[in-house]
C-alpha cells in the first residue's frame, strides 16, 4: 500500500467562493423561512391536521438516512478490512456528520415550538422511538467524531478500527430507528410494517453512496486532483448493487401489503390511482431513481463515462427524495380507516384523500437543510485534511502496476 497524503483543499478559487455563497444563500433562506413559520405558525405551510408531516420531513428524513449511508464507505474500510477503501474513509465520515447536521436542523426548525427544542433533551419518554433517536443522533455525531479523530491523529491511529466498529454499529441502529419511526405506527395502513427498518437501511446505503460518489467526483474535478477509474468503478458498481437491493426490498414491501386484503386500498392508492403519489412512485422512484441509474452504471459504452455516473448519482438522490415523498406524504394522504367496511364522511376530512401542496417557506427550509449539509462538508474539506491529494490508480489501486 502506498502512502496516502491527505491535504485540505485550497478554497481560494472563485469557484469555491461562489459555491459557498450559493450554499450560504440557500441556508439563510431556509433559516429565514423557519423564522417566518415560527412567527406565523404552520398555517403558512401546506401542512394540515391531515398531512401533519410535510416536505421538511421529506428532506430531513432523506438527509438523516443518507447520513448513515454516507458512512458506509468508511465502514467497508475499517470494519470489513478492505484497505482499498481506507483513503476514502475521512470524506465518508465528514459527509455523515454534514448530512445528519442538515437533516436535524430541518427537523428541529419544523417543530411547532422550536424555541423549546431543549425540552427534548430534558424530558424523555423512553418508550418513544423519537426519544431513542435523540440518543442515536447524538451518539452518531459522537461516534463519527471520534472516528475522524482516530483517522487524523497519528497518535491515536491504533484505535481507528474499534472507532470504526462503533460508528458502524451506531449507524445501523440510527437507520433502524429512523425506519422504525414509521414502522411502529401501527394505526396507519401504509406504515404498520417491521420491513420499514431494513428497507431504510438499504435505502441509506444507496442514497449515502450516491451522495458520496457525487461529492467525491465534484471535489476532485474542481480541485484538479487526480481520481482514477479504479476508485470510481468500484464505487459505481457498489452503488448499482445497492440500487438493486432497494428495488428488491420495495418489491417485498408492496407484495407483502398486497397479500393482506385490508391493505389493498392503500396499495391501490400508491401504485394505481394516487395521482401525484403514483407518478412519483413509478416515474420518480422506480424509473428515474432506480432503473435509469442502473442502466447508466452498467450499460456497456456509457458506464465508463464520468458524466453518466455523476448523472446516475443525481438521479438516485432525486429518486430517494421521491421515495420519501411517497412514503411520508403519500402514506398520510390516504385516509385513516376507522371503520373498516364503512364509507366515512365528516367535517374533518374522514374518508377522503387529503390534499397537500408544499408552500414556499417549508420547501426553502428543506432545501436550506441540504445547503447546511453542503456548507459543513465544503468548509470541513477546507480546514481539515479529509481528501487524499491523489486517488489516481497508481496510488489507490493496490493492483496497479
Amino acid at each position: 500500500m502506498k502512502i496516502i497524503n491527505y491535504r485540505e483543499i485550497e478554497g481560494r478559487s472563485s469557484g469555491f467562493l461562489i459555491l459557498l455563497a450559493i450554499l450560504g444563500l440557500l441556508a439563510l433562506l431556509g433559516l429565514g423561512s423557519a423564522h417566518y413559520m415560527e412567527e406565523h405558525g404552520h398555517v403558512v405551510t401546506g401542512m394540515t391536521n391531515q398531512i401533519v408531516w410535510g416536505i421538511p420531513h421529506v428532506f430531513a428524513v432523506f438527509l438523516i438516512v443518507a447520513a448513515s449511508g454516507a458512512l458506509n464507505v468508511a465502514s467497508i474500510g475499517s470494519v470489513f478490512g478492505k484497505s482499498f477503501y481506507k483513503p476514502l474513509a475521512p470524506l465518508s465520515a465528514l459527509l455523515a456528520i454534514g448530512l445528519l447536521g442538515g437533516g436535524l436542523t430541518v427537523l428541529m426548525l419544523d417543530l411547532g415550538r422550536p424555541d423549546r427544542v431543549i425540552v427534548a433533551a430534558t424530558h424523555y419518554n423512553f418508550k418513544s422511538v423519537f426519544a431513542w433517536n435523540v440518543f442515536l443522533y447524538s451518539g452518531f455525531f459522537g461516534a463519527v467524531a471520534i472516528y475522524i479523530w482516530t483517522m487524523m491523529d497519528k497518535t491515536v491511529s491504533s484505535y481507528t478500527k474499534p472507532a470504526g466498529y462503533l460508528a458502524f454499529v451506531v449507524r445501523l441502529l440510527l437507520t433502524t430507528g429512523t425506519g422504525s419511526i414509521f414502522g411502529f405506527l401501527v394505526a396507519r395502513q401504509f406504515y404498520d410494517s417491521a420491513l420499514l427498518a431494513p428497507m431504510f437501511i438499504i435505502m441509506s446505503f444507496s442514497y449515502g453512496l450516491a451522495i458520496y460518489l457525487g461529492v467525491l467526483m465534484a471535489s476532485y474535478k474542481w480541485t484538479n486532483r487526480p481520481l482514477g477509474d479504479a476508485v470510481i468503478n468500484r464505487l459505481k458498481n457498489l452503488l448499482g448493487v445497492f440500487i438493486a437491493a432497494v428495488l428488491l426490498l420495495v418489491t417485498i414491501f408492496h407484495m407483502t401489503n398486497l397479500y393482506f386484503t385490508k391493505h389493498h386500498g392503500v396499495e391501490a392508492f400508491i401504485l394505481l390511482n394516487g395521482g401525484i403519489y403514483t407518478s412519483l412512485f413509478w416515474l420518480g422512484q422506480i424509473i428515474l431513481g432506480s432503473l435509469v441509474p442502473l442502466v447508466l452504471l452498467y450499460a456497456p459504452g456509457i458506464s465508463k463515462s464520468r458524466s453518466a455516473i455523476a448523472f446516475a448519482c443525481g438521479l438516485v438522490i432525486l429518486g430517494g427524495l421521491s421515495q420519501m415523498y411517497v412514503t411520508i406524504i403519500g402514506g398520510q394522504a390516504y385516509p385513516l380507516v376507522l371503520f373498516p367496511g364503512y364509507q366515512e364522511s365528516s367535517s374533518f376530512f374522514d374518508g377522503v384523500v387529503h390534499n397537500y401542496s408544499p408552500s414556499l417557506p417549508e420547501t426553502l427550509l428543506g432545501l436550506g437543510g441540504m445547503a447546511i449539509a453542503g456548507i459543513i462538508v465544503t468548509l470541513g474539506l477546507k480546514v481539515l485534511r479529509f481528501l487524499p491529494l491523489s486517488l489516481a490508480d497508481s496510488v489507490a489501486d493496490p493492483h496497479a502496476k
Binding site: 391536521n49 415550538r113 422550536p114 419518554n125 426519544a131 385513516l336 365528516s346
Partner: protein, 253 residues
Amino acid sequence: MNEQNKTAEQVIEDYSRRKFLGTSAAVGATLAIAPGITLLDMAQARPADQAASSKNRWGLLIDSNKCATGCDDCVSACFKENAIKEGKKETDSQWIRKIELKDMQSGRTSSLPMMCQHCAEPPCVDVCPTGASFKRADGIVLVDRHICIGCRYCMMACPYKARSFVHEELTDQNPDVPRGKGCVESCTLCVHRVDKGEQPACVEACSSSGKNAMIFGDLNDPNSEISKRIAETATTQVRADLQLNPGVRYQGI
C-alpha cells in the same frame, strides 16, 4: 425563620404539607356526614387539593341509534366550552366531529361523534418523545402543552385522527382551557369540568337536546350508569383490533 427569608423549596414544602393536612381534614369532615351522602359527595366532586385517582376511569358511552344525522349539538358545545374557533379548514382544530357512516354492503347509514377515545394503552403517549402526551391516573389522556414541542408524532400515531395541531396564534382562550400555537391538542374530556364534578360539555348538550345519546361516567364503578349499560348491552370499541381499550364505547354500529 420568617416567611420573608424562606426559599421557594421551603414554601413549596410547606404548601405540600398544608395540602396534606388539608386533605386529611377534608376526609375527616366528609366522614362526619351520613354515609350515603359521603358516597355521593365523593363521586360528584373531588376536593380541589386531591389528585385524580386510578380508582376512577372516566369514559363515555355513545348510542349511535339515538345520534341524529345532521345534529351537531355536541360539536358546538365543545367548541364553545373550549373556546375553539368554529372553522372547517384543514388546519383548524376539531376536538370532536360527527362522522357519517354508510355500510358499503347494506347501505345502512349511521351517525356518531368521534373524539379522543382516551385509550388505556394510548399510542400517542407511547410515541411522544418528551412525555407531553400522558394519561392521567383517572384515564383521561391529555397533552401537557408546557413540554409539547410540536413534533406531531402523536398525530401520526393516533388511530382515531383525534388530535389537532394549532396552526395559528390564538386569542380569547377560556381561562380553564389553555391552548396555543405550535402545540398538539385533543379532547380533554372537559377535564376542568370533570374535576369539578360536572359532565363534559358535549354530553350535557346531548342531554339537553333531549337525544341522550351520550353517557359520561366512571367505568371503574360497577354501580355507575355507564358501567351498568355496558354490562347489559353489546357495545363496540372503534379499532378494537388494536386492543387499546378505549374509554369511549359505542352502541348501534
